[in-house]
């Protein structure tokens, strides 16, 4: 069997890294999956249900756990990949945190993304006002089966604030994080199902429902669940004497400013290049794009290529993407890796 002895190191044990590891191991390659956190799984770990079909996130988590159960895979956690170097003759060396060095025949970079730190949008008062939360924090509430205000009371009006940290020059992010619109719609529907007496508003700049069944979900949210949509970027939030949030937004379709009180404001935080990934890229000489994610060799037919021989990219270290696309991208990275290893 081809390539049995060949060794691939994967930097990052999120969705992309786990899928790539599973696919390579299945083909008989020896894989070392390096994850900086305590468990593989990445951001998916904190998710409760997934768009567009509200399937339990646990189903995908368990698929990925099985995927890395193969005996060809060694998982190292609590460890970061700090530098990758290709040597003449084909060996790739990888520096791990704790000054260990590992040798491999190829490396897949799958360092993923960091969530935008909502405190940087000071005007929304995240970390200051009691009832300003982020989309992942709402997901944690869904996991617990209850959505309440900080004081434990039941909300009667919730606002989903789109594009927090995305499409915003003020925080140096001009890119769209792609998944937040559909996440907001998914979460809005869940809130309406959970609390039929609670009004839910989405404040958006554009509804970017790019994936299969997303537009249908958007339509369903209006038709069946009475989710409200107001087109406008929320400019600031404050609290009134009843500790209720007060937001300012333009209702751009009415062409007039609008003021609204909210019990909870959910910030749809976007994706940024992971800090650990950026350090790795700088140390290893990988190119970063204008969006600060890793820039692949070719946008159309080589978006897994790093430009360094024996090093390939998988998943959201190259751009924001959903789980479906991340898994496809990881499989494509595996195809490129195998083509490279076979051709040597």
């Amino acid at each position: 069997m081809k390539g049995t002895q060949k060794h691939v190191i994967i930097a990052g044990g999120g969705v992309a890294g786990m899928e790539a590891a599973g696919a390579l191991a299945e083909m008989g390659y020896r894989v070392t999956l390096v994850e900086k956190g305590q468990d593989p799984g990445g951001h998916l770990l904190q998710w409760h249900a997934l768009f567009p079909d509200s399937r339990p996130a646990e189903e995908v988590k368990s698929y990925l756990r099985k995927r890395i159960g193969n005996h060809n895979i060694t998982v190292i956690t609590g460890t970061a990949v700090e530098k990758i170097k290709h040597h003449p003759g084909g060996t790739v060396t990888v520096n791990l945190s704790g000054s260990k060095e590992e040798k491999a025949d190829a490396v897949i970079v799958a360092t993923g993304f960091d969530l935008f730190d909502a405190r940087r949008k000071e005007e929304y008062g995240y970390g200051i006002y009691d009832n300003v939360i982020t989309a992942p924090e709402l997901e944690t509430m869904f996991n617990g089966g209850r959505v309440t205000k900080a004081d434990g009371s039941v909300p009667s009006r919730i606002g989903m604030i789109h594009c927090v940290g995305s499409r915003d020059e003020k925080v140096n992010n001009n890119h769209c994080s792609k998944v937040c619109c559909v996440t907001a719609v998914k979460q809005a529907i869940e809130l309406r199902k959970m609390m039929p007496a609670c009004e839910v508003f989405c404040f958006y700049m554009d509804m970017r429902m790019y994936g299969p069944y997303y537009e249908e979900l958007y339509r369903e949210s209006q038709e069946v669940h009475n989710v409200n949509f107001i087109r406008g970027k929320v400019s600031e939030a404050s609290v009134n004497i009843n500790n209720r949030l007060v937001i300012k937004v333009e209702d751009t379709l009415a062409g007039r400013p609008l003021k609204m009180e909210l019990d909870i404001m959910v910030l749809m935080v976007g994706m940024e290049m992971a800090e650990a990934g950026t350090k790795l890229a700088v140390a290893s000489g990988f190119r970063l794009g204008i969006n600060r994610f890793l820039e692949a060799g070719d946008h159309h037919y080589g978006n897994n290529l790093s430009g360094v021989s024996g090093v390939f990219y998988a998943g959201t270290c190259t751009a924001p993407m959903n789980i479906t696309d991340t898994i496809s991208h990881a499989r494509a990275a595996v195809a490129e890796t195998v083509r490279y290893l076979d051709g040597r």
Binding site: D251, A254, P257, L258, K259
Partner: protein
């Protein structure tokens, strides 16, 4: 009082353009949504306004009228609902299948009831 004092100062206090969602009246929205549920589907593309005969020569704007109903802005609605000629061309255009003509008819009905304190 106001006018007299305005003369005294040469100016008066400007009126707010704000839509205050916490004080506006959404009875008309409830009335329309109940009788014409397709109203909820409007995503404000403006196709109706582009094709509207009335909108070519008056400020009538069906897309904006929908927004006013949703936000509970009754004041601008009163005038707006009278401008539609109910030709129904907008119905043919709407990509979301909203029964636009009935939305205007129901909004006009709701306004009439509101004025008679029947809503």
């Amino acid at each position: 009082m106001n006018v007299k004092q305005a003369n005294k100062f040469g100016f008066s206090i400007n009126r707010s353009r704000l839509i205050d969602y916490d004080t506006s009246d959404r009875k008309v929205r409830e009335y329309v949504t109940l009788r014409e549920p397709s109203f909820k589907l409007c995503f404000a593309c403006g196709g109706c306004t582009a094709t509207c005969t009335a909108g070519q020569h008056t400020s009538f704007n069906l897309r904006r009228l929908n927004t006013y109903i949703r936000r509970g802005e009754i004041e601008p609605l009163r005038e707006e609902v009278t401008r539609c000629m109910l030709c129904g061309k907008c119905l043919l255009v709407c990509p979301r299948g909203v029964n636009t003509r009935n939305v205007v008819a129901m909004a006009a009905e709701a306004i009439r009831k509101l004025e008679r304190n029947e809503l």
